[in-house]
């Protein structure tokens, strides 16, 4: 019987040798890290590391391009680390480190590549050139790779400064802005492949470019790229979970807002012939908000659990917490609007765009204008 038509094979049978190789590399790398650095980790951190093995493996199986990205980032980061020879001063001497893959150099390259990708996407969109759009995609991938290398190397550098200074680079505004760029770009790349449309990159890369602009200003004007030791409140394994989960939320909300902009333009006939159909944009927007909402829910819960341990209460109505709630309520409302007949279309797109302002305020504005317990990363 040729009845197997379109029948999904069981997951394990669908895996190729590359998938298995990937899983083995992930496991080997993690176990090596565990054996080598285990003494510096507490039980929770070990658990996080071990849980990362299946999570990363399955994620790689689910989203195939993640595998080469992961391997490339791993290889380049290891190369960079080997170049250091345990000596921080090599940053200024070794050629590769100085110009390419010391953390600061890699992050600056990431910024430049995101800038170029933005130009390419717009060029491709306006000039209706598939090739130029494809260049935009490649540039975005390269930017993501270098950005991750930058963060990985920064992690290592922080330990070179001092074992008591070392920490995962998600602890201040500079580092999380880099993370934000990377996560937003990765989510976009995923949907780009899934919906086979590149035109929307022009919009999404705008919000990433804005973040890049902030990173540059923050670096040049404030010297924010300097690695600072952690304040006692941030010394917790919760940070490793809470912050990335939050940024998946922020990233996807920003993504949805830019899709909303595309939607509103297309609906008014601007660039309409160049952009995907409205239903497609709408669907992407929904997907982005759905994943963002789910992760933001988790992030907020993790934040509450951390707060219970650090501040003595799972909810203190601190401005950052409260704004997280506002963002969350905002997107809960968005999801409910979708379920009401007649309120869809432009209304949802507008709401998503406004959501970006709410999100940005929660992310940045609170640190700038309001004070509270979340006093890391003041401007």
């Amino acid at each position: 019987m040729e009845l197997a038509l379109n029948q999904p094979a069981p997951l394990l049978k669908r895996l190729s040798w590359f998938d298995w190789l990937f899983a083995v590399v992930v496991a080997a790398g993690s176990l090596f890290a565990l054996s080598r650095f285990g003494e510096y980790m507490d039980i929770y951190e070990k658990a996080i590391l071990l849980a990362a093995i299946p999570s990363l493996a399955v994620f790689g199986w689910f989203w195939k391009p993640f595998r080469p990205l992961f391997l490339a980032v791993g290889a380049i980061s290891l190369f960079a680390i080997s170049q250091y020879q345990g000596n921080l001063a090599r940053m200024e001497e070794a050629f590769f480190l100085k110009y390419l893959i010391s953390s600061q150099a890699a992050i600056m390259w990431m910024c430049a590549l995101f800038g170029l990708a933005t130009i390419a996407y717009w060029g491709g969109l306006l000039g209706r050139s598939g090739f130029v759009l494809k260049t935009g995609t490649s540039l975005t991938w390269s930017a993501v790779a270098l950005g991750f290398v930058g963060l990985m190397v920064r992690w290592y550098e922080s330990y070179l400064i001092g074992t008591d200074v070392g920490h995962i680079p998600v602890s201040n505004l500079y580092e999380v802005f880099v993370l934000f760029c990377l996560i937003t770009a990765m989510m976009y790349l995923y949907y780009e492949a899934r919906y086979q449309t590149r035109q929307l990159g022009a919009f999404v890369l705008l919000v990433i470019s804005a973040a890049v602009g902030f990173i540059l200003w923050y670096t040049f004007d404030r010297g924010a790229h300097e690695i600072q030791p952690l304040v006692p409140a941030l010394k917790s394994w919760w940070m490793k979970l809470h912050v990335p989960a939050n940024f998946i939320g922020y990233g996807s909300f920003s993504l949805s807002a830019m899709l909303g902009v595309g939607y509103l333009l297309a609906q008014r006939g601007i660039l309409a012939s160049r952009l995907p159909k409205l239903e497609v944009i709408d669907d992407m927007m929904y997907k982005a908000i759905a994943i963002g909402f789910a992760f933001f829910t988790i992030a907020t819960i993790l934040g509450a659990m951390w707060a219970a341990e650090a501040w003595g209460g799972y909810w203190s109505w601190d401005p950052k917490e409260t704004w997280a709630l506002i963002v969350w309520l905002n997107y809960a409302a968005w999801l409910h609007i979708r379920l009401v007949k007649g309120l869809r279309g432009a209304m949802l797109a507008w709401w998503a765009v406004v959501g970006l302002f709410v999100t940005t305020f929660a992310f940045l504005g609170v640190n700038m204008f309001l004070s509270g317990l979340h006093s890391y990363g003041e401007l």
Binding site: Q104, F220, G312, W317, L335
Partner: protein, 670 residues
């Protein structure tokens, strides 16, 4: 007439459970939450009065804006959310539960044919055969399939993703659960007691033991969140709960003793850890346990979690040297002080109260500010993220105190123990400010060759001493004139000028001199006069130092640059004394530090309810968003098969899946 309330109830039910109402509630709650982030919550009421003025202060107080999240109107919105969500679940529950179970096998053929997503295929196969194949296919796709024989063929009714509905129950009941858990940990019980008059907020600043029972909460209080400061070597059996403009005392079921409090620092001076070694005793004095509490590492005992929240001075003992700044002598007197305690100073001008406020063993100051290389792009591009903390410096211990005069007016002072280098010379700094929101302005007292302020004080005493003035003026005039002019009228004039300048300066510093020049000298000559007077003052001051040293049986000062600067700095500093605002200066000689640890104590029985709710919420959200609910029907008759598909949510995935099933049917029927 009977139907009216009934239909009103029904309308209310409809409204509360409607989606539009839910959206409005979510939006209103979001907007209402903003209020408390814009207005700083739970500040001392005085700050609000200063900020808004007495009228608006009262209006805002009535609106509960100083504690928005416990204000009745905010709780009302939350109640609406809980009620609305509950009603919504109540309303949907029967339908959703039925739907989860049902295969909807009773759909008629006509309605299937009217579906938006339907597809018909001709077939030569026997209905049963095709049905079996199609069932296998659908099951392979993850559907639950029910095969129903019909008189002229078969109906396959299939469904997938029923957990989507389960997700709805989980997520929405989780909202209710989380709100209830939050309420359990809130202060509703106290609010009720306050309304009934059985409990009252304490607003007086009195010792804890004197707080009456009406403002105390018993150890059995189910939920609280309070804090207490314990000095090293002491213990506490209560916690304080801040409420509105007062507080409540929470009696604890145990006694917390603090053995030691430690702050560790990174090499850059930033704090690295705060740790308290505590011991718990029962009320009979028996030790229960010992533990170390650190930030992110609380101690949980008997349902009460104890957290490291802050630290403060616990009553450091200070050994001080006091100087009467306006006495015409160099003498000092000893003062003993303890932080958080007061001392009285008696003087001819009336009594002063010294209130010792704080002591800090370290002060990390940014001594440079600017990033040196910010203009150089390359240095950042290829640059190093290694921070050069060369600007940060520990400038040593300092202590803060207030000097309150007989009328109750106070100024706050902050004195450093160690000298600071400024412009290449060393000074002892004393900061002064009138109110807590001002920055300190600093008095700099120059150090002498011994590294102390004694010379400054000696010279100050001599300059203030009117009896020494004739001698100083005489010495000055002799020094200033060649020998042949001695004893002439010029010398007398010079002596007179010097005496006058010295007297003016001793009365009010440079301001007094300036005032004199302004009233007595025509405008065109003022600048010249000023520089002449300044010159006279500096030279006379040098002579004053000679006299003072001689009286103190000290060697004469060298006439060099160092002494020159010392004299000049002394004059500047003395002039500042007139706006310093206190008649005394206190120099910190030594200290015996006692730290206090700020602990927070919480009992929150609702926490587990909230956590469980959170778990359900997470599961529910994932089920709702990632389990797609859909149904497929296949009506097979001899000769043809009709495929119909439906879902509560039409997404692009759904369209794709329908196309796939339609194609599958086509190939199955061939």
């Amino acid at each position: 007439m009977n139907t009216a309330p009934h239909s009103f109830g029904k309308a209310l039910f409809e409204l509360m459970s409607s989606m539009r109402f839910a959206i409005s509630l979510l939006s209103i709650l979001a907007v209402a939450s903003i209020v408390g982030t814009v207005l700083k919550q739970a500040e001392p009421y005085n700050n609000y009065i200063i900020q808004f003025g007495p009228f608006w202060f009262q209006v805002f107080e009535k609106l509960g804006l100083y504690d928005v999240y416990h204000a009745s109107w905010f709780l009302l919105i939350l109640t609406f959310l809980v009620v609305s969500t509950s009603v919504c679940i109540w309303r949907n529950a029967p339908n959703f539960a039925r739907e989860m179970k049902s295969f909807r096998e009773h759909v008629s053929e006509q309605s299937l044919a009217a579906f938006k997503h339907q597809h018909e295929a001709v077939t030569t196969q026997a209905p049963e055969v095709l049905a079996a194949k199609a069932q296998a296919y659908l099951e392979g796709q993850g559907y639950k399939v029910k095969s129903l024989p019909r008189e002229d063929g078969v109906l396959l009714a299939a469904k997938a993703g029923s957990w989507n509905r389960l997700g709805y129950f989980l997520a929405h009941s989780a909202i209710v659960m989380i709100c209830i858990g939050g309420l359990m940990d809130g202060n509703l019980v106290f609010k009720a007691q306050q309304l009934l008059g059985t409990k009252k907020i304490e607003t007086r600043d009195i010792p804890q033991s004197q707080v009456p029972a009406i403002s105390r909460l018993t150890p059995s209080n189910p939920s609280f969140r309070g804090s207490v400061q314990i000095p090293e070597g002491s213990s506490a059996s209560v916690a304080f709960l801040n409420v509105a403009d007062g507080y409540l005392v929470q009696d604890l079921p145990f006694v917390v003793g603090l053995k030691d409090f430690r702050i560790e620092h990174y090499s850059t001076g930033q704090p690295k850890s705060f740790e308290s070694d505590v011991e718990l005793f029962d009320h009979a004095g028996k030790k229960i346990r010992e533990a170390t509490i650190a930030v992110n590492h609380p101690l949980i005992h008997d349902g009460i979690a104890i957290y490291q929240a802050s630290f403060a001075d616990g009553g450091t003992r200070l050994t001080l040297r006091g100087w009467n700044l306006f006495a015409p002598t160099a003498a000092s007197f000893p003062v003993e002080g303890t932080v958080h305690q007061n001392a009285t100073l008696t003087s001819a001008a009336g009594d002063y109260t010294l209130e010792f406020v704080d002591f800090r063993p370290f002060n990390i100051e940014n001594m440079g500010g600017e990033i040196a290389d910010s203009g150089d792009a390359m240095s950042v591009l290829g640059g190093s993220p290694v921070s050069d903390n060369k600007h940060l410096r520990n400038v040593g211990p300092s202590f803060q105190y207030k000097v309150r005069d007989a009328r109750g007016q106070a100024r706050e002072f902050s004195n450093y123990m160690l000298p600071l280098e400024l412009d290449g010379r060393w000074y002892l700094m004393s900061g002064v400010r009138e109110s807590p929101n001002e920055a300190f302005r600093y008095l700099r007292m120059p150090l002498d060759a011994d590294g102390d302020i004694d010379t400054f004080m000696r010279l100050r005493g001599a300059l203030l001493n009117a009896e020494l003035r004739p001698e100083i003026a005489a010495r000055f005039a002799r020094q200033a004139l060649p020998q042949n002019a001695w004893g002439t009228e010029i010398e007398d004039k010079l002596k007179f000028s010097a005496t006058q300048v010295l007297a003016l300066f001793a009365e009010g510093g440079f301001q007094a001199l300036g005032g004199f020049i302004e009233t007595k000298v025509p405008e065109a000559e003022r600048e010249k006069a000023a520089s002449t007077y300044l010159r006279i003052l500096e030279l006379a001051a040098f002579e004053a130092l000679q006299v003072a040293n001689r009286q103190a049986h000290l060697p004469a000062p060298k006439a060099d640059d160092t002494t020159g600067w010392l004299v000049r700095d002394t004059l500047n500093s003395m002039s500042d004394l007139f706006v310093y605002g206190a008649p005394i200066y206190l120099q910190l000689m030594s200290y015996d530090e006692v730290k206090a640890s700020g602990l927070q104590l919480t009992r929150s029985p609702g926490k587990n309810v909230v956590y469980f709710g959170s778990l359900l919420l997470t599961l529910g959200v994932f089920f709702m968003l990632y389990v797609r609910e859909r149904r497929v029907w296949l009506r097979i008759k001899p000769g043809n098969a009709l495929l119909a598909m439906s879902s509560a949510k039409h997404t692009i995935d759904f369209e794709k899946e329908f196309t796939q099933h339609a194609q599958a049917l086509d190939s199955l029927t061939q």
